[in-house]
Chain length 384, copies 2
């Protein structure tokens, strides 16, 4: 096991009706900026619940964060927050609203010239305005970590930063807020959580049997629950179990002491920037291609994954790997996420620029730092 630090002070308040507990979680002596997306929280009643809970609080609202939140929108929010002297942010929505809120909270305390440097140059985040979260879409795990991903379309960039300073003080996770999610949002969330686990699990062994099994626990549960929520989108327990899986997938626990990959996410981000594909839709294409391309390097863990997660009993390890990849593909497809670029009419030739961009920026990636331009191109061709 590798040495590690695990620190996760976010208070998780989980279950139905928990939005009413907001007054226990936020002090009144400060101006609160509620950040939100495009209006779904008005349709599903979450906005009303929040306003009822925060009656008597001094609140300003900022709407308009879209999936893959945009730098320019964040800068607008920063200007408004400065004007309004905001002392606390309450993100109400999915991971995109929350990621934007984290970047805003960090930017307000940033003493460099341009907060974009936090993303592009890894400029350190020394502090941030405190923030809390009401999660309405299980997927990113952002509700229980210090990560955020921001896009800047004018530059064709989608970049991440991470800091404990922007971990939410609390996250209210009420599964009832998710029963109105449509099939696409639901399957995207399941695939995103699944791939978060795979990035921390499908690498090489450094003797971490507990972390392996904790990762497998999440994968197996997602596999078990996905058809339940498809059959009945209003099934509270199925929604609850998916939400808890998505949080556990990226609260950094299963990543403790292990070797991590993140190739699939890095390539996926490029595809989102180039073609506007949903984040999870890129992952469903890239992960199976990475599994096939890295079949030799990831051999032992692929066999373990096939045997333990999918219960594949075949004595021939090569057949176990074949079946494991096939089952992963079928799981993504049946959740609702195609696993080929062709499903979106994207010619592979148009993607290859991603290999150049990504390897140019990051050098070699993957748990062995052996995936460069050529390898990324090969992975993209496998996803054709």
């Amino acid at each position: 096991m590798k040495n590690f630090i695990f620190y996760n002070p976010t208070k998780i308040v989980f279950g139905k009706g928990q939005i009413a507990r907001l007054p226990e979680l936020i002090l009144k002596n400060q101006k609160i900026m509620m950040t939100a997306g495009g209006g779904s929280i008005q349709k599903n009643g979450v906005y009303d619940q929040v306003m009822r809970a925060l009656e008597g609080y001094d609140i300003v609202e900022f709407w308009g964060f879209q999936p893959n939140p945009e730098y320019e929108t964040c800068m607008e929010a920063i200007r408004k927050a400065k004007e309004e002297k905001v002392g606390f942010f309450l993100s109400v929505g999915g991971g995109s609203v929350l990621d934007a809120t984290k970047f805003i909270a960090a930017s307000l305390c940033f003493d460099g010239e341009d907060p974009w440097d936090i993303l592009s140059k890894g400029a350190p985040v020394q502090s941030a305005v405190p923030l809390g979260c009401i999660l309405t879409l299980p997927a990113t795990g952002s509700e229980s970590n210090g990560n955020a991903v921001i896009s800047r379309r004018e530059r064709n960039q989608k970049l991440a930063f991470s800091s404990p300073e922007v971990m939410p003080r609390f996250s209210i996770i009420d599964p009832e807020t998710t029963v109105t999610l449509d099939a696409r949002q639901t399957s995207n969330g399941i695939v995103d959580a699944f791939v978060h686990v795979m990035e921390q699990y499908l690498t090489y062994d450094v003797n971490t049997p507990l972390q392996d099994r904790q990762a497998e626990a999440i994968l197996q549960t997602l596999i078990e629950v996905a058809p339940q929520v498809k059959a009945d989108p209003k099934d509270y327990d199925a929604r609850a179990n998916i939400m808890w899986c998505a949080t556990q997938a990226l609260n950094t626990l299963i990543g403790c002491g292990v070797v991590q990959d993140w190739t699939t996410h890095m390539i996926g981000h490029e595809l989102t920037v180039l073609f506007g594909l949903d984040h999870a839709r890129t992952l469903a294409i890239v992960l199976p291609a990475v599994m096939r391309h890295q079949r030799v390097q990831k051999r032992d863990k692929l066999i373990q994954y096939g045997r333990r997660v999918w219960g594949i009993q075949d004595a021939d390890p090569e057949k176990v790997i074949d079946a494991a990849i096939e089952k992963t593909i079928r799981f993504f497809e049946s959740a609702g996420n195609p696993t080929k670029l062709s499903a979106y009419d994207i010619p592979v030739a148009d993607c290859l620029i991603a290999a150049e961009r990504l390897s140019g920026r990051e050098g070699k990636i993957g748990e062995r730092q052996d995936i460069g331009r050529e390898e990324i191109e090969a992975i993209l061709r496998l996803g054709a």
Copy 2:
């Protein structure tokens, strides 16, 4: 899934050589009281590592906490801490030293008359002097929770309290500090962690498939690693995996949203008070008896436990339960903990007072609140 709150802000600093990071974790502008047990940390070099790391700090030492830490010793430490105006506690040792330190830290801020009320009457802990931990014995999980158990022998009492105020600010978990543990301490730690998981797992189902699998992950890993550490007590990775299992067993994560039992611990505490048996030795006796006594009430989970944790394939569920109980007993025995009172020459008749004491104090216990005096007596007879 039941509603829940999960809050665990303890920073875990895990791995070899991490004691040297103490200066990153403790501010210098305060007097530190280092609390410790009977001297094992002097023999294994941990004390020297701590003193080297804290050179230049203002430190006072308090030694002498034994297993099942005693109220009187805590009161002595409280007097000394007041005299010395201690601003931070550093617990160096196992769960007993840490539990004592938590009680001391809470007592110093307690504004009632007698801090014993925190334990005996559930008097609320409003605040506590901050504390940190260097763990040298994996077992209790105290390094990552707000729980403490204190004994008062003059009254034959062993009582627990829990408060987020006494959660360690940090816990340094260096597996190298545990390679000198003897076989008894090692097996006690394994059994304690195993039973912590069982108390939160072997109950009835409220649709928590992820928590179930996270619990099974810890059980399976303990079963896998226990023989490794027995074969080679200096095996760093085996020690590391046991430590991480013990922390995960009682950092409250697997208890989120589930129904919990704790019958085994409550009966076990009484046996420790009456006969001075090691905590984990009582658990190894009581858990198998609880499994047998609650066989009907715990039927579904016993079958799941047998199939998933022990891989018992028998089609007949009753045979799965029989084998699961048998395997649990053999696991405890082979770790080094007998599962019968007779192994310690304790006649069951001498134990029955525990049933009266416990039911008199707590009423009916267990996940269904259906274990009263008669049932506890029956459980004790099954452990004869």
